[in-house]
Symmetry: none
Subunit: 197 residues, 4 copies
């Protein structure tokens, strides 16, 4: 059936992989043509520019992670504490093996593209915001953090994770991620609450 549409999704899927590994700017359209076995004509039929493809790839990353991290895990049916643990474990599981070297699709593009292109930056910023909002709600549900500090604390957890993935990438070992996840779990769950200052 909808062969054109399928083909387009396929290109985005292949491109998402390549761009995660090589970065957006270092990925040439030719790289994608070779990886997906299509011709130039077809490519430019589906995407007016390379930039269009880039945005499609980012949107795809966001769709995937929003569904997995936010909708399925953070807004799922388990008790709030459990949901937070799930999120941390899901993170840990996503960055093992070859994925350690590839790093986080959002973190990678955040750093590579923020200064170059507003449409990348805004999408990624907005994704991080949505994530922090969802985590913030869960933290409140779990009664772990006072309401007025929940968003800040959620953002800190997320940025800690991004930082750990960054260090893991440059060290080529998932140890820093395990380390951060373990410290976050510890801090969050073995204390009555985090309230000072």
């Amino acid at each position: 059936m909808n062969k054109g549409a399928l083909a387009k999704e396929e290109i985005v899927s292949v491109a998402a992989d390549v761009i995660r590994s090589k970065g957006y700017q270092s990925t040439s359209i030719n790289d994608i043509l070779v990886s997906s076995g299509i011709g130039k004509g077809k490519f430019f039929h589906h995407f007016k520019t390379k930039h269009d493809l880039g945005i499609a790839v980012v949107d795809r990353y966001i769709d995937t992670w929003k569904t997995r991290m936010i909708e399925e895990i953070l807004q799922g049916d388990f008790p709030a504490k459990t949901r937070i643990l799930h999120m941390l474990e899901e993170t840990l599981g996503s960055f093992q093996n070859s994925n350690v070297k590839k790093g986080c699709p959002f973190g990678n593009l955040a750093i590579e593209m923020s200064e170059h292109d507003a449409s990348f930056r805004e999408r990624i910023a907005s994704f991080f915001h949505e994530w922090a909002m969802a985590l913030s709600e869960t933290l409140k549900d779990a009664n772990l953090i006072p309401e007025d500090r929940a968003y800040d604390y959620a953002e800190h957890i997320i940025s800690s994770i991004e930082g750990a993935i960054l260090i893991a990438k440059v060290k080529q070992t998932s140890k820093p991620i395990e380390n951060t996840v373990s410290i976050l779990k510890n801090t969050l769950l073995h204390q009555r609450s985090i309230s000072h200052e």
Copy 2:
């Protein structure tokens, strides 16, 4: 007198700025020629390749930060707790205003180059290791962390900072850095020690 050496240092200095803003791969040699007002011949007289320049820039970043963060602050003469506070405040101060958008020179290159080039990756990994070692010693001096957890905790602090700088870059506000610094201070200093698990 030492005109040649000066000239080379100047190029590295200009390039360090440009590369921090645009990234290594997106910075063309021409960008550097224009920014520094020199000719191609002069450039390639001092640097055999663009890669050579990149390495010189990384080495310069490392020199600067090692001196400031490690030697002057973490290994300085103040009490251990004070030194840690200084490090956090120095971090905060370094990423205000236009520097928020530029991000961390190490984090930027870690993400951009780790998969492309081992000589960048290794230098940066080794810098993060040295930083974590120095911070680890200070944490032990301050009696804040049990000895066997000190390195892991130090690495977590550093990766939290890197993650905060990343989020700040994509959000174009230093708020996430202030946030993380404040949480780190809080966790570190207002509790007897961090020992559970």
Copy 3:
């Protein structure tokens, strides 16, 4: 119709001329663009590298000469002695006028490229071998040379011709070629056989 293929052949044809005159390394891609009136994009669409073009040019030389010298002349329908005479006359005819200065396409590249690039060298060596094989058969057919000396003698005839073309090139006169052809004819045909030693 087959416009693409034609275009590629045209480039090879123009390049064959330019390279024969200027040598492979001294011929810039720009030289070829100017001579053939095409743009850089078109060139690199057809040839991945300059080296690719070089190989295409060598293969074209080989095709042409194999057809003319080996298939049409040495393996033709005339008596063996006549075929050898034809070969010598064809050689003579090919290096008159402006062609004296250009020299032999194979000899030129043999000397220029043998030390630089195995793929050029091997192709040319194999062409000379095939030529010597075909001439060797013809010498045997003509009963001019004892079987066990035929290949060596064929190779000597061919190398004499190459040497004569070389001297003709540096002297800018076809006299050395005429001279060598006449001596070869004489030695081959006016003696019962060449058998001594």
Copy 4:
């Protein structure tokens, strides 16, 4: 003592080697600086241009071979036939081992430079002429060739040798040279005289 002059000779000597292997145009001045351990200033003090060096190298080749081949061997004190044999054996000896791949300094430059530069071409043409003249005299002394054919025959011998060195270079074996030398010896010495046509 004459340190400047010595240095210059050294540069020419090093350059002669490099140019014989890589060709004149493919040899960069930097190649020569590296091989001889001198600086740019010194080089351009001795040679106004790269071309100047090239000419010095050719003149050096010519000096060496004229002394060896013409003065010592062809115009030496042995009987004429012996002198010719010596010349052939000297040739054979000069192109063994690594020298097979390097080819003949004159043949190499003849082919590479004849179309590009008259001053190279003329020097080499004149060297080949002097060699042919000397060989011609020796052939006459030996009563092997009628007077009016002696120069032509000498030139044919020389061009045969050059051609054999060329084929040897592309085949990377000295066999073609041995082969040609043996055939030349045979033709020259085992027949009363070469007179027909």
